[in-house]
Symmetry: D2
Subunit: 459 residues, 4 copies
């Protein structure tokens, strides 16, 4: 029996190749599909089926890509008008050698969501594992806000029923393979457990300790952001994404070439916050490399071509893959030699501030500094906040800069210092002259022993 898990960092996405004998299925493929082909070749199997546990919002599914290359059939839940693939219904069972995958309808996260139950028919009818998509994660359950706030309660109830009437009744002993791991925006606080079981979740997952009403109440109170790129994902994943066949080849741009057509590109600066602060190409977005998957979709538009800037041009291929996974097919190239080449060329260079928390603490109190807290609301609530700080979630900052004065020094703080750099870059792009990112964010602030206030304590 073959079970290979493919982890796509950034979107914290898990996909699976499952099979036995000479055939296999892929569950929820990502868009750069080489890795499934490699696993299939290594195991000597053909990929005959592709299953989508649900229509995704956070990444472009690779079904059409993989089907084009392998001839596999694409199967998904029946409760949604997909323009491609074939519907499956509860109880449908597919064989791969001795192994079977059986469909469970498990709506909730989305209404057409399915789970797939794995059995080894040569051994027993008892399930070995269940692929739950975004219904259940390690320590968490899927978000239920996609149908509008007026539907969240109803949808949460549907999810509760799917979990309690479909998944948990499979038994305590079933290995649970979800579609996302810690860090995904599809959950709230997914645990970093690489493996879990239905039984472990039933006994330990906070959401699963609640009754139906409690569950609905908890889910409706959760705050989820809805980045603008989700719309694009929905569209791609409804119609079937364009087939690429291979990743585009990235062109090496010289600093001079870029400087002469800077307006035509969106510059994605993937360096660390310290590196960005001391010097960057004017107008660039600062999104650190591990944040590209989660944050690009808030800021980059899908039409203007993207160029990548790094310290030494080490990661263009990694970043390209990440961007392709969320539908940015218009990545054109990178600056050869990275930012260091730009600065060697004597070209105009943007600068923002970067302060250790000690320096922020030292400067506070005078009033000339406005601390912008760009964390998400839950984080601010749980971890506390700097007194007087103004909460604006980083993703929503572009639409809310009108509130800010150009005369004050804007100190952006987030949880660990990365999103603060995004925020600083957004403000710098919009012409704010005094912008500083706080290194290490609230994590550092707390470790250094500085005070915070909690909701209700604010004056």
């Amino acid at each position: 029996m073959i079970i290979e898990r493919v982890i796509s960092p950034g979107i914290a996405h898990f996909s699976y190749l499952v099979g036995s004998g000479k055939t296999a299925a892929v569950i929820d493929p990502r868009r750069d599909v080489d890795i499934y082909l490699d696993y299939a070749a290594r195991h000597g199997v053909s990929i005959t089926h592709i299953f989508e546990t649900h229509r995704n919002e956070d990444y472009v599914i690779g079904s059409t890509e993989l089907a084009t290359l392998t001839g596999a059939r694409i199967m998904h839940g029946h409760n949604f008008p997909f323009s491609y693939g074939e519907p499956v219904y509860e109880g449908d069972t597919f064989s791969f050698g001795n192994v079977t995958l059986s469909v469970l309808d498990t709506p909730g996260h989305t209404l057409e969501s399915i789970s797939l139950v794995l059995r080894d028919t040569a051994v027993s009818g008892i399930p070995i594992a269940v692929f739950t998509g975004d219904a259940v994660f390690a320590g968490d359950t899927g978000r239920t806000d996609f149908y509008g706030s007026d539907k969240t309660a109803e949808v949460s109830g549907i999810l509760f029923d799917s979990i309690h009437e479909k998944i948990l009744p499979l038994g305590e002993n079933v290995i649970l393979f979800p579609a996302h791991g810690a860090g995904s925006v599809c959950g709230t606080v997914i645990k970093d457990h690489p493996f879990t079981t239905t039984g472990y979740e039933r006994r330990t997952s906070p959401d699963l300790q609640l009754d139906r009403q409690g569950f609905i109440s908890r889910k409706t109170q959760q705050n989820h952001y809805y980045p603008p790129y989700f719309k694009k994902m929905e569209e791609f994943n409804q119609r079937g994404a364009p087939v690429l066949k291979r990743l585009p080849f990235l062109t090496a741009f010289s600093p001079q070439e870029l400087a002469s057509s800077l307006e035509s590109y969106q510059i994605l600066d993937i360096r660390s916050p310290t590196s960005f602060a001391s010097g960057h190409i004017p107008g660039s977005f600062s999104i650190w490399r591990d944040g590209v998957a989660s944050f690009s979709g808030w800021f980059l538009d899908y039409e203007r071509p993207v160029l990548i800037v790094d310290d030494w041009s080490q990661y263009p291929d990694e970043i390209l893959r990440t961007l392709i996974r969320i539908g940015y097919d218009n990545v054109k190239g990178y600056i050869a030699g990275g930012f260091n080449a730009w600065s060697r060329a004597g070209l105009p260079t943007g600068v923002t501030g970067a302060w250790p928390v000690q320096q922020l603490h030292h400067h506070l109190g005078g009033g000339e500094i406005l601390v912008l807290d760009v964390r998400d609301a839950a984080n601010r609530r749980l971890a506390g906040a700097i007194e007087g700080s103004m909460p604006v979630y980083v993703g929503e900052l572009p639409g809310r800069t009108g509130l800010l004065s150009h005369d004050r020094h804007l100190a952006c703080i987030c949880d660990t210092g990365f999103k603060g750099s995004i925020a600083a870059s957004i403000l710098a792009r919009e012409g704010f002259p005094y912008v500083t990112n706080i290194l290490g964010g609230m994590a550092a602030w707390l470790m250094a022993g500085y005070p915070v206030i909690y909701p209700g304590e604010e004056k």
Copy 2:
């Protein structure tokens, strides 16, 4: 939380790197330890502890090697006089970030065997997983014959108690990570399930459906072979194996160099059975590449240096690793250009027969052919046998060739055609002139529709 499984094919061995935060443990490391160092570097952790679930018989454990390179402490069960490392006792708990590993004494396979229970203390006291060593496998339990046949019943009872009083009480929902997978000689019929749980095993594993007496009865009836190299493994694993620091560098031998000192070496021919039959270096052992781990220990001695022969010298490094894992530190080199170079050199070449089953069927009946059935006894019993065939397990063939006539044509048959080639090579080494391997073995015989008889049917 980090759980990385390292699979060593051939010995079908699973080892694990487990940790969180900045530290990790390795459970049952193999001897070529680079991969644990790579994983540790990738996750940014230090390896602080090495656990041995038990003293192994089938491979050299890499504890001393890994401890030398990392400074980690070596821990093992207290019920055996190891010359290195430190004893642990039931209930001892070791922390790696949020993760803990707690010791369970689970004797049976060996008397000092332990299991290690994994918990995430930040989440719950409920176990996530248990590392069972050779106590419980997927669909099987550890062999219990190591203390002599007069002790097998007693030891089997001890194993039963360990499983039923220690492991299964952890709950149904615990992921079970054993030390071996399908193909290991440490079990009988381990399933090829990459993942399983305590609950799935309790419900489906044949051994776990039995009561104590039934279990003992089943275990005592099982036939296990005890290859001579196990003695060497026991010795290494009691004293601590010699530290290599790196794999030896293999010398490329020309055919002429080898021909002039053929007596000094053990020639290990890892080609396919078809390739071996048509031509080989006289005196070589035919052990196909995936069989090296399981069968070398029956035939190769530990003193004489080993040379590797392949078709085109593609796999020396893979074979070297395999041999090092079972303590053959005296691998010297390989024939540059493989067997093809030998035949180009016009040197004396051995030839054995290789027949498709159709040809065997055609020739049988005349009486001048003796079919040697070199499968293990269980396989012969279950799958049936060719009427008139003589059973001799391949591993025991060297001591039993005195029974065989040089005048008859000896047709060696095994299950799929590989061990038959080993047998043919052993017989050719001992000067039997008419030796043939049956391609595809009994699998082919059965697929071709030829008749077999079962125990009791033999006349």
Copy 3:
């Protein structure tokens, strides 16, 4: 300055990425072009030009593929009606940073052949290197038989002039980068020197020691084979080959699937001669893996799909690349588990003989054996032959089997034992019942001290 050489084994083809600063050219790309993209990314350059030194006969040039992926311009000699790309003329010079490539017309091998002279303009106008395509190789010059035997003398004279009036006048000190290395069919006896210079060749290459008349005389006497696939290559390379964007994904076939549609496929068995002889899928072609590039084009047709058989399915990707390089776009898959899976399935199995030379020597003389010498004519002439052997070049064997008796034992011998296996497979396909390949070929025969006769000595 960047000079990366890409070696494609089998066709013994050298291509080059050359550049400096931020741009580069590729000279004579192969069709699986990923490697040039990788080098370009590693050096941080864009590929702006692709040069073809000539229209190739022995492989499909990757120009259209690479141009599609990079947007590079394709340049070739003006003296041929290519359907794609742009003509260049003597003296045309292209800049890549400090580096220039200047065109020399060097007809001969083909009439539109060009060479490219590399200079570092920041240092000197003296050439550093010359890319000679198939005009001059290490120790050899390009074949001149492509325009028909009545034109060979004229074309050889043209090549002589190109070498002596264009290439050698560049000076003694110029590094010479040809398009092929040892083993290529585009020369006669190319040396295995990884590097050479114009001066070294002028002083040591046998062809370059001759005057015009001697050169023409030597070239017209050389025997070159013209495999049927050359026609396909000419066609592809005139029109521009189909763009693939990526290699096809190979399907894993079970033995049973294949057995039920054996007629539909061409089976390419890439195992060693020993492995093929003892058992193979009936009707398969035995072409060892390093021979696929040179010999497939003699035997495989371009329409029927190809399946690959190996010992353990290790090399399908390597073989796929090789076949794609010579235009076999119709490779469908491979047998999962290799030939061993076929024999385990009990399916009908072909067998041919394989004899060490000692056995051939022992059997000769009786007259019932016909030795077929399948080497090329030059090899037979130079190395001698077995008395009474019948010369038929392996590539021409399919059309000449009508001459052979089905009653005689046909012993195929070549130079080292590989082409003999091809020949044996061709004869077995055509139903000859007694076919044997001689292991190690004439190399083994000579090393074993057996006698040969030379041309003129035959009775």
Copy 4:
């Protein structure tokens, strides 16, 4: 024939594996020798000899390491009391299959320097290539200052004779394989030509256009720095370096662990200058990753253990190899999570300035800024300097900080902005409060069009 070149960046070192048939030699191995073993295995050869073209000053030669692993003999020039290996003499010839390497005494760079002449004896007595060590490079010749300034003229004359009487007489057509490429401290202005010939060098290399007197005069006027670590290299390379067998395993340190014993370590911060400036661990040395080979030896001592800091812990293995090549065997670990983990921990953070050149230009003139020009003297002379700037070579800065005032703002500028960051880190370590690195260095200053003065113009 095999010629594989191994490039070690940073020290810009070229070593070679040369052979044919079944044996090979390695010329000037680096200390992490795995790559030679890999090449040997790939080509199916044994390494029988190791040649040292000379006793090196800039890196630890891997001869003892490689000899320990392979059993190869170590050969070097006779004119130096090496404690290991064997002397060779002019004319000594070593065979590797058809290939020979013959010794030429070519003293100058060092007095025991040899060159090795490569011939293919099956083809001709004419040399194919010459391995010149540090005698001749592409566009340059070896430095001649190692025997003291009073000997430079004499030694330069000796080098001139070696080149003109030994190397150039080999002929114009010989490929020249030196021991270093562009960027090495063993030459002055080595060209970035990956390949060259004796003839190309004779015609284009500035040093080779001069007569003996002109050559001596030029060489004696060249300025070379002598980093303190050269002493350690000399010692290692005279006695034979300690054999490691494998690279040490690096421990992952948490920020807290490091913070509690910061005094015990030398912190090597390999991030880009922008990243270092905005925040760093107090007391760390800023040496960018590609500068580690050339600059660590000026600043790090050999006794105190070294810890590596990066942005995200990506390069510890690469940096470890580099440090091991220059004898820093005491590398202990790296900060898990890189500097970002440090800042998240809220620990004290150092900050220096980083200015684009525009900002420097803006601030100059007031007098409160002292521009420290930390380039080497030749660079300052050739490229011009900022008026009023004070020249102090970065390597010599630690001993000369006594001259500097703590009250002035010290702006460090180098050629491209990296060595300026080293200088800034040195000054910050020594407590200077106002320290800034100029991004892009003089390259940026010139590109931005700001004025420079040349020697003699200074007032």
